[in-house]
Symmetry: C2
Subunit: 185 residues, 2 copies
């Protein structure tokens, strides 16, 4: 994934300054909507930087961690084809080929032809890969717990529920030619 290790600079405007600046330049802006959207964007950027630092301490990249997570999520015996992995990670098959090359070289996964259908390739997590995943997962869940530390149990529930509702809206709707969201169902 190779994200820049640098934080956004100290001269970056605060969230409130940013919203105020947008309102000066663009009248038709709902500050409440902008607050939600801008906070979401910034939060995610910071979190990705933080995850990147953590897994780097284990000697793997954020990109490799994504692959480990996907394989573990698929459940035992932790096998998926390159095409399926690519789809789930939002990559092209070509990128997947190279990523698997590297990870196989590092011993995190194996790559073998399917005996029953020799066009297919099977990528399988090694024990070492599974161990790396577990170590990364421990660090990540500590980090996430700390991140939410200031929120009460109720607040966490409310936040989760609201986010899930937004997610449903994006997952079940796609912008049409004009860019508006329209239901697909």
């Amino acid at each position: 994934m190779s994200e820049s290790t640098e934080e956004p600079g100290p001269s970056e405007p605060s969230l409130d300054e940013q919203i105020a600046a947008y309102q000066r330049e663009f009248r038709d802006l709902d500050p409440q909507v902008e607050q939600v959207v801008s906070a979401l964007g910034r939060l995610n950027r910071r979190m990705n930087v933080a995850y990147g630092r953590q897994v780097a301490a284990l000697g793997i990249s954020n990109a490799e961690w994504e692959v480990l997570k996907t394989l573990v999520l698929s459940g035992s015996p932790y096998r998926l084809g390159p095409g399926e992995l690519a789809k789930r990670l939002g990559l092209t098959p070509a990128a997947m080929t190279h990523r698997i090359d590297r990870m196989a070289g590092e011993g995190l996964v194996t790559r073998d032809r399917d005996e029953n259908n020799r066009v297919r390739v099977i990528v399988e997590l090694t024990d070492e890969g599974r161990t790396k995943w577990l170590e990364a997962m421990r660090m990540a869940s500590d980090f996430e717990e700390d991140l939410l530390q200031d929120l009460s149990g109720d607040e966490r529930g409310v936040l989760g529920e609201l986010l899930v509702r937004l997610l449903r809206r994006v997952e079940h709707a796609q912008p049409d030619a004009g860019g508006r969201l329209t239901d697909l169902d």
Copy 2:
């Protein structure tokens, strides 16, 4: 930015399935925390894909749009140095040099030496760049309004406030060697 245009595949597990799978593999996992974090991550991915499609319709990339936004946010006369832009966008100066090359070639910005200090370079938004920004901004704010359409005014306020609290936690704290968050102030 050149993000993959593909959505994560249809075979990707649902959020609930994903959380259940993690719990099977990793006992020490707070499902409430995981729901918040996973929803945040997915939401952001989908939103970036959507933004990318929208600005592509205007003939610019997500990366170029980020630069336009940063210049507009700096306020009239919409000028910043490459180094400052790089810091705010979380890029290396080298990447900024190339991005400015492209955008200057497309007429979105100009690049000139500062007369008072000939080491410095000034990147300034052109009228065409400002127009592109405005067009993109209109599409983005329509999209964002649609995204939040299912939430009441109160719910939007609560969501914004909770996200801002999380953001404060990441912005004012950085993971130490072990990866825990510790206050910097």
